[in-house]
């Protein structure tokens, strides 16, 4: 018997049950059981770490958040997939990059999340092509009815890092350099943080510093904001005519860049990996290969609205019909997907960065000082983990 764990509620559970059923029908004698785990990322992570530390062979297949792969790989908790010779050409490169550790692939992307810039087609002439244009369009769209130029996730949590990552990339900066060194305290970092801080109280309400995804979606959905930074899940909800005041009056674009920078969309989403202590790794792999095949991904998009990481599907008119999004616009965003640092100590680095970003944004520290302190502490974390370069 094989056990798979991950999101198994609502439409996600529905599509998983259906697909697992087909897998069992195609593999007589194989039993697959779905194990529900908490939807809250921190809780699921905690649970996984406890299981894997105890070297339990179940669940055999794990649904991982994109920032966990390196951690689990370095700990020896999940199997490298090379020996199964997965064919990977079809996947968006960033989605694979996030799942590699020390040159080896440890998990296969299952569905993809990216940060997108939602904009009001009735208030903005076109999708901004530069940060300058965004800075002009946002205040120009503000009125008595639409008080906010832009809303984003500014609470002290993982979401803030993804918001920052996009602006940082837009200025050409990065959190960790290619060689693994901390690179966040750069001129680009300071400019990015200054830009976000400058928006607060002017085009973004101070409340954004307490907002997660849903609060920002509500603000945009109620027609209170010109721009919204959010994930793909917001698209169908914002288009529900009974609940949303902006249905049919918005579009999505890639977060624009400054000269010399590159447009970046923070990469999120789920991957599938094999528990290193699974007693049926071959079978586990077959399940992963089945679930990540184009047909299953298309069905997942149709039922749960989740974006497939296979590029070929983005040429498929059936996907456009399933998602209701302009495929080419979204594909452009997916091509610019930017992984968060791929390192086993990501969550600790992120926590440190969250704190210092939040300090700077709430006026407790100057951006430069905050980033310097963050960088120093992040270096200490890498050093303590014996991962410093």
């Amino acid at each position: 018997m094989l056990r798979i764990s991950g999101s198994a509620v609502g439409v996600e559970g529905e599509v998983l049950t259906r697909q697992v059923g087909r897998f069992m029908a195609a593999n007589p004698g194989v039993q697959v059981e779905t194990q529900r785990t908490p939807d809250d990322a921190t809780q699921r992570h905690q649970l996984y770490v406890q299981w894997l530390n105890a070297q339990v062979g179940r669940p055999d297949v794990l649904q991982l958040d994109v920032v966990w792969t390196a951690e689990f790989a370095a700990a020896g908790w999940i199997l490298p997939l090379d020996r199964f010779r997965p064919s990977t050409e079809d996947f968006f490169p960033a989605s694979l990059e996030a799942n590699r550790w020390q040159g080896r692939l440890f998990a296969l992307p299952w569905f993809m999340d990216v940060g997108m810039l939602y904009w009001r087609t009735d208030l903005v002439p076109r999708a901004p092509v530069s940060l300058d244009e965004l800075a002009r369009f946002a205040p120009a769209g503000i009125s008595d009815e639409v008080p906010y130029g832009i809303v984003w996730q500014g609470a002290r949590y993982e979401g803030l890092v993804t918001v920052f990552l996009e602006v940082l990339g837009a200025f050409g900066g990065e959190i960790l350099a290619e060689d693994g060194r901390v690179a966040v305290a750069s001129p680009a970092g300071v400019r990015a943080l200054e830009l976000l801080r400058g928006q607060i109280g002017k085009i973004a309400p101070p409340e954004v510093l307490t907002w997660h995804e849903e609060e920002t979606r509500f603000a945009f959905q109620n027609g209170n904001a010109v721009f919204l930074r959010n994930w793909p899940y917001a698209w169908p909800l914002l288009n529900e005519r009974e609940k949303s005041k902006v249905a049919g009056r918005f579009a999505v674009a890639l977060m624009p860049a400054a000269p010399g920078g590159r447009p970046s969309a923070a990469l999120g989403g789920a991957q599938l990996a094999i528990n290193a202590h699974s007693r049926r790794p071959e079978l586990a792999w077959r399940l992963i290969a089945f679930l990540t095949a184009p047909d299953q991904m298309l069905e997942r998009a149709q039922v749960a609205g989740q974006y497939p990481p296979r590029r070929s599907l983005w040429e498929d008119p059936r996907l456009a019909e399933a998602l209701g999004v302009p495929l080419q616009d979204v594909r452009r965003i997916l091509e610019s997907a930017t992984p968060r640092p791929v390192t086993p100590v990501y969550s600790e680095l992120s926590e440190t960065l969250q704190i210092h970003l939040h300090r700077a944004l709430s006026g407790q520290a100057a951006p430069e000082e905050a980033l310097r302190m963050a960088a120093r502490q992040m270096e200490e974390i890498l050093e303590a983990a014996e991962l410093a370069q």
Binding site: N53, A75, P205, P206, L209, S347, Q364, A385
Partner: protein, 277 residues
């Protein structure tokens, strides 16, 4: 002689189960936490093993700026909330000490905030402040207002009832003789009520200080320790270290430090109480 020995043995036999339970529920976890705190143990980095590091975690704490600021927040929160709770609790107790119609109902109503689970009370105050989240939860000084207000709202009734019990233990004729000696209301309060209420005040102080020092759920729900870490108390820092970062050794050391401080406070109070009686 042998008879007395067996008496003694019998006595030990009688208390043994209680001691065993105590050891199991108090000493064992504490001992385990202390043992854990002497190791470098990071659940997410199994490649580092679980080496014994002696007092290294404690030395790291001594040099940890986030710990010291968390300790500062804890002390500030404790001082501010407990002072307000004792002051307000005393006023409420004095008011309830008088006989008036519906006194029973007032006393019962007073208990409602105290009866609410802290998480529920914290959520309630979070919702109350939510419309102005941009003011209350993004400025370090302002963020303390909902936190302290919620704590005072929730625990003042407890203090008031404790003090009320103390007040009712004061014999009425003491006031009569004080009045005969020409003492006004203020003089009576200062010379009769306050001195005789001191044991009750001290008990309230002990409970409240120790509780406030370990504050966790209230702040976890209300501000999450933010903005930045501007309202993060030590217990929340320890929680984040243990359960978010899964750094068991360091987290255990932080918890042991919280324990040592509250234990020290408890000892001081107990001594004060003893010198009272």
């Amino acid at each position: 002689m042998t008879g007395r020995m067996s008496d003694r043995r019998l006595a030990w036999a009688f208390v043994a189960p209680a001691l065993a339970v105590l050891a199991l529920i108090a000493v064992f976890p504490l001992g385990w936490a202390i043992w854990e705190s002497l190791h470098r143990h990071d659940l997410r980095m199994p490649w580092l093993g679980r080496p014994f590091v002696g007092l290294e975690n404690y030395l790291d704490i001594a040099a940890d700026a986030r710990f010291w600021s968390a300790l500062g927040h804890t002390v500030f929160f404790t001082a501010a909330s407990v002072a307000l709770e004792i002051g307000l609790g005393l006023v409420l107790a004095l008011a309830m000490d008088r006989t008036f119609r519906g006194r029973g109902a007032v006393r019962a109503a007073l208990l409602i905030p105290w009866a609410l689970p802290t998480v529920v009370a914290a959520l309630l105050w979070r919702f109350l402040f939510e419309p102005q989240a941009g003011i209350w939860f993004v400025r370090p000084a302002a963020a303390w207002v909902p936190v302290i207000l919620a704590d005072v709202w929730k625990t003042t009734p407890f203090v008031a009832l404790l003090l009320l019990a103390g007040l009712q233990g004061i014999q009425r004729d003491l006031y009569e003789s004080a009045a005969m000696d020409g003492a006004g209301a203020w003089m009576q309060f200062r010379r009769v009520t306050l001195p005789l209420l001191r044991p009750a005040i001290l008990v309230a102080l002990i409970f409240r200080t120790l509780d406030a020092f370990r504050v966790f759920d209230l702040i976890y729900v209300l501000t999450g320790g933010g903005p930045g870490t501007a309202t993060e108390p030590v217990a929340l820092y320890a929680f984040n270290t243990l359960f978010q970062n899964l750094r068991f050794g360091y987290g255990a050391a932080l918890s042991v430090v919280v324990f040592l401080i509250t234990f020290g406070l408890a000892l001081i109070y107990i001594r004060l109480l003893r010198s009272q009686s």
